[in-house]
């Protein structure tokens, strides 16, 4: 452990880590928001709307995230939409997360027994009131564990942003080893542990919560 390593590690923590966290958190927020909207729309059981949302979800989940990210960053400028590296990464991760979030929300809403919405309707509530006051409060509890798993997947996937030039912890490592290849092992091990320490508590908490709910 020489001073080169320590200097590089410092740069990873001071410059890279905030970027990794920023990209991950912004993306998971888009995923939760987008997932809620799309998932609730699925509950309307409108055929045209369903087709559009299913198409979106299946396509976004069917293509590799890396291809989506390259498309946003390299492809969209050709169509006249220019985004910098960080926004591109957030857009790609957010769109991908929203597709996964939509499935989570839909699953949770449809897992609430039909009697609940029938009882709500019988009390004279309209569709929106039933959804907001009866279904969602119960469904939200069931969404939390899968959204936590999605957060873990998002943090892992934020590493792909390095490939479009976002200076996250992976990219900082890659830049530092250009001068000194002997740093590959210590630096990569360090960031593996950084990812692990972010993700492991969330993934354990998610498993615990899920077990408690079932």
């Amino acid at each position: 452990m020489n001073e080169h390593y320590l200097a590089a590690l410092r740069e990873v923590l001071v410059q890279g880590l905030p970027v990794t966290i920023k990209v991950s958190v912004a993306s998971i927020l888009i995923a939760i928001g987008g997932g809620l909207v799309l998932g609730v729309l699925r509950a309307l059981r409108n055929r045209a709307l369903d087709t559009i949302i299913i198409g979106y979800v299946e396509i976004l989940r069917g293509i590799p995230l890396l291809v989506l990210m390259f498309f946003v960053f390299f492809g969209l400028p050709q169509l006249g939409f220019h985004f910098l590296e960080v926004p591109s990464a957030i857009i790609a991760l957010g769109l991908w997360g929203a597709a996964n979030g939509a499935e989570i929300v839909r699953g949770a809403i449809f897992s609430i027994s039909a009697g609940q919405s029938e009882a709500g309707t019988a009390l004279g509530l309209n569709w929106l009131q039933v959804m907001v006051n009866v279904i969602l409060p119960q469904a939200v509890k069931r969404m939390i564990p899968p959204f936590m798993s999605l957060f873990v997947a998002t943090v892992e996937s934020s590493s792909l942003a390095a490939l479009i030039g976002v200076k996250d912890i992976v990219e900082i490592v890659r830049l530092r080893v250009e001068n000194d290849p002997s740093l590959w092992i210590p630096l990569l091990l360090s960031i593996l542990f950084i990812y692990f320490f972010i993700n492991y508590p969330v993934s354990i908490a998610s498993q615990r919560l899920e077990r408690r709910l079932t």
Partner: protein, 187 residues
Amino acid sequence: MLLVGIAGAAMRTSRSAPARTLATAFAEFFRNTPPLVWIFFFYFALPGIGIKLSAFTAGTLALVFYQGAIAIEILRAGIEAVAEGQREAASALGLSPLQQFVNVVLPQAFRISLPALGNNLISLLKNTSLISAIGTIEITGIANDIIAIRLSSAELYLTLGVFYLVCVIVLSAMVRVSEQRLSRYGS
């Protein structure tokens, strides 16, 4: 991937504490770290300690470990879902622990785990795209490539996306067919 999953899940559910700890640590560590960083590790870092792998081998190994770690968890859940009586009955018939696992518990666990394993297989297919990152970076940094790629186009990535999509749709159809086949044998 499947072999790593089966071996790991067997260890995770075994009665030997060291085996359990080892398999749990392996599964938790790989599951919670990005496969891209593992690909870098196998390809760029291992030569530092004298292990030189080709891009293909390094990429494949990294993905086998990552998806294998997920398969361990999936199969563990499957094994735990198999009724305890099944193993007891097998043991009453005089089967050895290995025979109990291979002939009685695993086939049933496999059927329970099949949908999740199918998803894992699809995710493996998509993650193969990450291996290209090694090639990208090898050519002295990304900058050169960005220039090269900027000249190519949106169509390229659309085509690539469609290609993956077709593969994924075919694969999920295959998974669904095999689920239906297996569910015929009662549940």
